[in-house]
């Protein structure tokens, strides 16, 4: 029998029985059904698995389960609204939507910050942490924060612009996303 560890996940209490050194990423994806966090490299280099541990971005592939006892974990599902949030709600209880992150997701889509999408959950979570600390981040602050979350599609420029649009430092330039209800109403 495996020991049980308790922590707060996306605002709700969570309890997981598992080996102490189980990777938090595997616990989230396999045991808790939260598949928003992706495995890229599994070595802490790519940032696709980034979650917030006590409000700090960390690679969930490098966090052993036993060290999250008593911690507060936020995943991309905890920041999501709409379909992704609803899916996560069914599996991990009701989630409080985070308005800032949700707006970030919309701007990200409109500005072309997300292309293939593999890095996007980790990128959004990382930028959430950036904006919590620096509400109007400089280009250098954005660059440094996302340097641990690799994106091979955008060349980062559109990600930087998305953050700058969101924080009112640049006018929106992106094409409205055709699939977005919000945009089609305008």
């Amino acid at each position: 029998m495996s020991p049980t560890y308790r922590f707060t996940l996306n605002g709700k209490p969570a309890e997981v029985a598992g080996p102490p050194m189980a990777r938090l990423l595997d616990v989230l994806r396999r045991d808790l059904g939260l598949t928003g966090s992706k495995e890229g490299c599994g070595e802490g280099e790519c940032g696709a698995c980034t979650v917030l541990l006590d409000n700090q971005p960390v690679c969930s592939c490098l966090v052993p389960l036993f060290q999250v006892e008593g911690a507060v974990i936020t995943t991309i599902e905890g920041l999501a609204q709409g379909q992704a949030g609803a899916l996560a709600q069914g599996q991990a209880g009701a989630l409080a939507p985070d308005e800032k992150a949700t707006e970030l997701q919309r701007v990200f889509a409109n500005e072309g910050g997300a292309q293939c999408g593999a890095c996007t959950p980790g990128m959004i979570v990382t930028i959430k942490a950036l904006l919590d600390r620096h509400p109007k981040p400089t280009r250098d602050q954005i660059r440094e924060y996302v340097s641990g979350t690799l994106c091979r599609c955008t060349g980062y420029e559109r990600i930087f612009r998305a953050v700058e649009v969101l924080t009112g430092q640049r006018p929106a330039e992106g094409e409205p996303a055709a699939h977005s209800d919000e945009v089609s109403r305008t």
Binding site: M1, S2, P3, P19, P20, M21, R23, G42, E43, G44, E45, G47, T50, L53, Q56, P57, V58, C59, C61, L62, V63, P64, F66, Q67, E69, T126, A129, E144, Y145, S147, G148, T149
Partner: protein, 282 residues
Amino acid sequence: MSLSWSPKTLAEAREALAQGATKVAGATDLMVTDHASGREHASVLNVLGISELQGIRVEGEQLSIGAASTFTLIRQSPEMATHAPLLVHAAATIGAAQIQNRATIGGNIANASPAGDSLPALLALGAMIAISGPRERRIVPYNAFHTGYRTTVLGPDELIERVFIPLPSPAVQIFRKVGTRAAQAISKVVVGFASDRLEHHRLANVRLAMGSIAAVPVRLHDVEILIEDHPLTADLADRAASLVEKTIWPIDDVRSTAEYRRHVAGQVVRRLLLDLLAAPLA
């Protein structure tokens, strides 16, 4: 079933240490090697919550850094910025935010990678390591901590409690790292340099330390003596670079060739001295 311990004090940690539990700090290296090798641990000890391993503060004649301090905390500490900017600079080059939020100074030391970025900084600053064992605490100069490739004086029932930097710390502190990318890259060559600055372009108490060029981080004593014995000139910078190339015996590995490392190590030292030459006297 494997056992896990998350003690709040050193006293509580001793039972786990006596039973040979694997010490786990930020786990940023351990999790990678465990996952790749399939290695399992009979029991694990979380050192991150141990109170004696926390905090960064000035205590009399030394800067005292808790072993569980993450590189993020080291970057944010005003005491670190004042007394050990070399280590702050090193901390900023370790991985990226996700790694710096987890990886600790104690973990970097105990992990004993030849490429550990904080390690040449610690050598250059003359760090001392406080090690807690079953009965006593001992203080080991950091330059005597490593015994060989990834081996150290740390016993299985001991853990690193704190790192001490003697004060006043050196007036000149310079960190240089050569890697493939500013973020995330593991060093090809990493340099920590510290000295006092005398008048007329003379340096005293020079400590020049390098990582990624030998099985352990090392000080280049011959080069230090050369720099101390001569006024700082462009010619001295060239001679120091040549001596560095003759002194070190790096290896070929996945990250670089020995030839590249030797050349770059010399040039890093040359440019560092030229930068000092160009900087106004303190």
